[in-house]
Symmetry: C2
Subunit: 191 residues, 2 copies
């Protein structure tokens, strides 16, 4: 069942979910195997009606194997309330800790259409199809995805914009620095 507040975002506005550079959770599934990891090195690559993203995925990760096998993944934005969960799935590997998701309280639901596993509690989700670029993947651990669909929690993102100020601080996105320390997305200023 889809979470309450799970609302479609038009493709041409989906870059705004990640434009401010938050840390993401990366999820993927192949066969019955689902995994989730954290990645601070994720970025918008293109916008408009053919949005793209990049994400750096270490060769040691189980999630990378699932993406290479299935050709699909999701990037999603954890909240301040999920900082400990994010740190946990970014530290443990499913290769050493088979019950990693249960250990860190991660539950998933299937994205509409694609069925890609998405993480409960996040405030933005982007389902992506891998754009195979073997040289980038091998030399730089750099993966490119075409964004196929996007959704957001309408308590904090609606009409194509974030509205963090009007909601609980628990729903703010987070930005990893190092060693489990994060900055919370702060106040708005106009340039």
């Amino acid at each position: 069942m889809l979470p309450t507040h799970f609302t479609p975002v038009p493709l041409d506005k989906s870059y705004r979910l990640m434009n401010h550079g938050p840390t993401v959770l990366v999820s993927a599934q192949h066969g019955d195997s689902i995994n989730v990891m954290a990645a601070a090195w994720a970025c918008v690559l293109d916008f408009g009606n053919t949005p793209k993203v990049t994400v750096v995925l270490d060769k040691a990760t189980r999630t990378r194997e699932l993406i290479e096998a299935s050709g699909f993944f999701a990037l999603q934005l954890p909240t301040q309330a999920m900082a400990t969960l994010t740190c946990g799935v970014g530290t443990d590997s499913a290769k050493d800790t088979p019950h990693k998701l249960a250990k860190h309280g991660v539950t998933t639901f299937a994205a509409p259409n694609s069925g890609t596993p998405l993480v409960h509690g996040c405030v933005g989700w982007l389902v992506c199809q891998l754009v195979p670029e073997p040289h980038n993947q091998t030399a730089y651990d750099l993966f490119i995805g075409d964004v196929l669909g996007a959704w957001a929690d309408d308590r904090v993102f609606r009409d194509g914009r974030w509205h963090f100020d009007a909601a609980s601080d628990d729903l703010r996105t987070i930005h990893h620095v190092a060693g489990g320390q994060f900055f919370v997305t702060g106040k708005t200023v106009q340039g």
Copy 2:
């Protein structure tokens, strides 16, 4: 002359300047021509002793031409106090506005050793050598750089870590959302 508070950051800590996903200013020089643009789509690609970054540079930009001609560029982190400047150099092009830097109050100084132009008022600077990847540059506007040297303003970054809480909010980094709206880097939470 180098700015006060301009302090070297060890290469293996330089990724921490950008790990939280702030918007950057991109600067470059070829011959006597210097330019500066804003980029929200910049990201760490690797850390350790061979740190790398990515940045997306539109084909229409003058700064991209300078980088392709010289093989060098710098990424640097503007502050809350520089939100209007950042918006200005991200909107105007030097192709239409030859005195773009003066118009927006941008002044530069030469980086130690390389001489790459760096922007006064920023709180972190990374001098990079272009890693030529013609396919990425042409197909995706995606540029990769080896970080050769890094510096930070020691009022907000020292001992390998950000210390925004102890300084003026004017020195906080910023994250572009859309249309000249930015989020300021917010409070610290431990995961």
